[in-house]
Symmetry: C2
């Protein structure tokens, strides 16, 4: 779908590969969100409003080549921008599944076979949009940025943003600024260890939050205990729906996930002294079945006064959060972009 | 003991309560380290060298009042400074056991009964040293600062400093700067949850690293399994000595502590993308009996490439690290002091 293409006001485009936003006052950022199921793009205004939006399914299958995927992405972006009347752009901000080198953003997303062996995404976008700042970060980090910029963490300086879905990812804002760490990989809340002898994790470790609480992990756990989904390809979303409908094993799976998330948040706030943890992603839409055990486990493990002050809240921005956060890499670079 | 009192060169003292170091080029910081067993003080030169040092046992017992403890501290500081020839001072930096309000530093250290109900340490030191910057932080944070400034984390931007002793504390440097968090409490690595159903912790929670790996916790664990210390008041240091001498239960206790520390460091580096974890405190002197299981557990849980790059090293600065870090609150305020 394409939203109404509000023609952004904007002056002439200025070359500014790594400086402040280009395109003149009011120019939008071309925001891109690259995931395993869809490629999404938007024109995002300086106030964070999504003025135009489009998406396509990510071409899947082992026979899709790296260049074929790139051409699909180019087509999506070209159509979006030309439908909007080819406005001058302030820059290009992109969220993409990890891992990636950072800030060079040679990406090798686990869930996109065509690029799994590495694709020079930032270099290609720079060639495609010469003179514009092009900035790329992990997709979960972009969601966390959006929640801090305009969502559930707005106005707070110490915020953890989380995405609980097929994987468990996140981003960390401390002292009002995005934490990148040594290699741009800070924010991997999904790999806080919550059960030292727990299930093996896709990272190669064991007992990580992601191994316990990711949708497919919960589905497998519930199947082993007698949950019979309607569809053979059952996901965490179907499990969550059954939990809401009162299926006891499905509800127990949500409880298991919620408690694991609560423990990981307790560890994170002890280490980082946080004010807000904002929880998004598909599973977070389960509501109290997930949030109540989360709060319960957090209360049991976070007893010191400073830690008890943390507020755990649902993410506020919904499906376009990743695009809004990608735009903030350009619009709010003082807080969210410290690299060249 | 008092070290050789090198008379620091230094110009006239300038009033500068919260600005840059006072006292002119070369003036030392009066550094203070307040703990449950001793009060220590030093004159620390701008290059981090400890030019004069003295300490007294912390007056213990339920009958010691707050003002009595303060007078003992005042006496220690007065003697140190006058023995050094009353040099102009660049400021006063202090590490103190937590908890405390921060940056106001009304302290209420768990292990100092005289001040447990709160003592306005920063206000009192400001009254005592008018016109000088007076800065106070958690004692474990001061150790972490010292290790980043001049020790095992020098030259790295993303460092966790840990103290493993009667408690387990720490401090976090990210992007080259000390992380304070919302209330100055960032760095509580001792309260990362390493065994969700583990032993109760002094913080009120359960299964924290500190509950597992603090000296008294290890002593209790080893006693339950047949370790018979020579002294009835056995500490982690005696346990560590027995472990080195080949006592199997004592060695198993060290292994248990080391693995718990390794798991907590894996969680911390996944969240913060660290380069160095520097481990100090009494128990860290056990050497390989602690560090080998620590490295083993870390390797099992930290498998992603960015996390595997972390180096776990012994702290480099020894007993005076807390004093050196307290001095850095004044000398290197751009990195370690963001408050008023």
């Amino acid at each position: 779908m394409t939203g109404p293409a509000t023609p952004p006001s904007g002056g002439p485009s200025h070359a500014s590969a790594d400086g402040p936003p280009a395109g003149g006052a009011g120019a939008p950022v071309l925001a891109v969100d690259i995931g395993g199921t869809k490629l999404a793009a938007a024109l995002v205004e300086p106030d964070g409003r999504v003025a135009a939006y489009d998406r396509v399914a990510t071409p899947g299958g082992a026979d899709v080549g790296a260049e074929e995927l790139w051409r699909v992405l180019e087509g999506l972006l070209d159509t979006l921008v030309s439908d909007a009347g080819d406005p001058p752009l302030a820059g290009v901000g992109t969220g993409c599944g990890g891992p990636m080198t950072w800030p060079a953003a040679e990406v090798s997303p686990l869930n996109i076979p065509a690029w799994r062996n590495g694709f020079p995404l930032r270099a290609r976008l720079r060639d495609r949009y010469p003179g514009l700042p092009v900035r790329i970060h992990n997709d979960a980090i972009c969601v966390a940025i959006a929640e801090h910029w305009l969502g559930a963490g707005r106005g707070r300086d110490n915020v953890l943003g989380m995405v609980v879905s097929t994987g468990v990812g996140g981003g960390l804002i401390l002292g009002g600024r995005l934490v990148n760490g040594a290699s741009g990989n800070a924010g991997h809340i999904g790999h806080i260890v919550v059960e030292p002898d727990g299930p093996p994790c896709g990272c190669g470790g064991r007992g990580c939050l992601e191994a316990v609480a990711r949708g497919p992990g919960l589905v497998a756990w519930a199947r082993e205990r007698g949950w019979r989904p309607q569809s053979p390809e059952a996901t965490g979303v179907e499990l969550a729906a059954d939990a809401r409908d009162g299926h006891p094993v499905a509800a127990a799976a949500m409880r298991r996930a919620g408690r694991a998330i609560g423990i990981a948040i307790a560890s994170a706030t002890h280490l980082c002294d946080l004010e807000v943890a904002a929880i998004g992603g598909g599973l977070s839409q389960t509501g109290p079945l997930l949030f109540e055990p989360m709060a319960e486990a957090f209360r049991e493990h976070a007893r010191m006064e400073f830690a008890r002050r943390l507020r755990i809240v649902p993410a506020a921005l919904g499906q376009t959060a990743g695009l809004v956060g990608a735009a903030a890499l350009v619009f709010a670079q003082d807080r969210y972009w410290s690299a060249g």
